[in-house]
Amino acid sequence: MVLAVAGMTFLVLPLAGLLVRAPWSTMPERLAEPQVLEALRLSLVTATIATAVCLVLGVPLAWLLARVPFPGRRLVRALVTIPLVLPPVVGGVALLLVLGRRGLVGQWLESTFGFSLPFTTAGVVVAEAFVAMPFLVISVEGALRAADLRYEEAAATLGASRWIVFRRVTMPLIAPGIVAGAVLCWARALGEFGATITFAGNFPGRTQTMPLAVYLALETEPDAAIVLSLLLLVVSVAILAGLRDRWVTSA
């Protein structure tokens, strides 16, 4: 009990620090600055798109890992968790080496389409999706493995096609796992800093997400950094609390 309480205090104390040290008197003017709202808007939009990308790519991948026995499955499962282990800046460097203007794939992108990912909003989405995808894959894979196969088998024996089985039996069964994974994925994408600043750079309105704005504000104006941090915190907590029931309930 004591340890649990200590753990909660450990997590809550920094929030208290932010609240207490915030420059409440100048808060309204600071919040009205266009750069602040731009960074917030960009953060929310890119995190949501990155989560969508993770869902589209991650759920099928989780299915593959959970349901399809293939040689090297354990290796692939380990590889999927690499972005979790990799320091985000290293992830950003790796992305540059592959998708940068002179990168393995990026070179081809540049010469064929004249388009390169670094320094674009799309680049921010790529960086965020890269670091956040493992959360979704692991969560959904866990849910798939825990789901009782007998329901699916029963549906199949009753004549349902594989797609119907997936859509009307499997998905509802693993829905809490998907939602939990998506929420973690979104939260991780929102807070991403290292990979974003390395791969997508930093430019207000285009690639300057909230974490980047906070870091730069901290260099000269700690008060502004506190305001930005508080804003991000409030918005994140509001959204996560709104999904609270779904998130905490497991499959």
Binding site: R21, L96, F203
Partner: protein, 272 residues
């Protein structure tokens, strides 16, 4: 019993956190800076302060100061010099927040002012000056040869963020030339900006002459006349809360000596 307890057990730490925060709010900034550092500085001083020197220096001083550090260690056997290189603005913030350091060498008077305003440094001395240069990848894909080319929208330019010294200097130089340049990225320190050029991700960047020289072969430098209008003076100071004040003074003396000057000028700095 547990259920009744748990409600209090949950509320108590939250209340505690708030109370602790409020009481910390009561003391002024200097007080909290002092209370933040006792854990750090006592740890540093207990670790035999007379044999360890911590120097916070601007990223652009990486190669030169590392060399001077080795010289210092050779001249003072038993002393270990540790460097923290980074954006001067970040380092200044760290120092004012209580990070243990003996010496601070900044890339601009403005970032040093952050530290002196917080009364944490003795009178700073300018020891070198640094000029900006245009850095391009060796193959110069965008065929950049003067400052004007950076204003071309087809050229991808990386600049330092204006909060850091090289960014402030870049803005001054561009203003002096009457140019409007829209970069693709504003990096948080000069080395990060240089890396973008080395990787070929941008066509040009405004970095220090010293950075171009340190990346010899990986980037090409192009001088431009307006650089003279935006020279950065680098101040150095020993810090008032230094765990090793004697060593700090010795190191500053080394940097200001002819030997120090030679190392710095060789790397491309201008003598102060």
């Amino acid at each position: 019993m547990l259920r009744r307890l748990s409600r209090w057990a949950v509320a108590a730490p939250a209340a505690l956190a708030l109370v602790a925060g409020l009481s910390a709010c009561g003391s002024d900034d200097a007080g909290t800076a002092a209370s933040a550092s006792p854990a750090a500085s006592s740890a540093a001083s207990s670790a035999a302060s007379s044999s360890a020197l911590t120097v916070f220096a601007a990223a652009s001083l990486t190669e030169t100061f590392t060399e001077l550090g080795k010289t210092f260690e050779a001249a003072n056997p038993g002393v270990k010099v540790t460097f923290n290189f980074g954006s001067s603005a970040t380092l200044a913030q760290q120092i004012t927040q209580g990070a243990p350091a003996d010496v601070f060498a900044a890339a601009s008077p403005a970032t040093m002012k952050t530290v002196t305003d917080a009364s944490m440094a003795a009178a700073p001395t300018t020891f070198v000056r640094n000029k900006l240069e245009i850095a391009v990848p060796p193959d110069n894909p965008a065929k950049v040869d003067e400052l004007k080319d950076l204003a071309d929208s087809k050229v991808k330019v990386a600049l330092c963020a204006e909060q850091v010294p090289c960014g402030a200097a870049a803005i001054k130089a561009l203003d002096a030339a009457g140019l409007k340049v829209t970069p693709v990225t504003l990096e948080q320190d000069v080395k990060a900006t240089l890396t973008k050029v080395e990787l070929g991700e941008v066509d040009a960047a405004l970095v220090y002459k010293t950075d171009v020289l340190s990346a010899a072969g990986k980037v090409t430098g192009i001088d431009f006349p307006e650089a003279d209008k935006a020279i950065n003076d680098y101040p150095i100071a020993s810090l008032s809360k230094a765990p090793a004040p004697d060593l700090a003074k010795k190191f500053v003396d080394l940097v200001l000596s002819q030997q120090g000057k030679d190392v710095l000028v060789k790397a491309g700095f201008d003598a102060a």
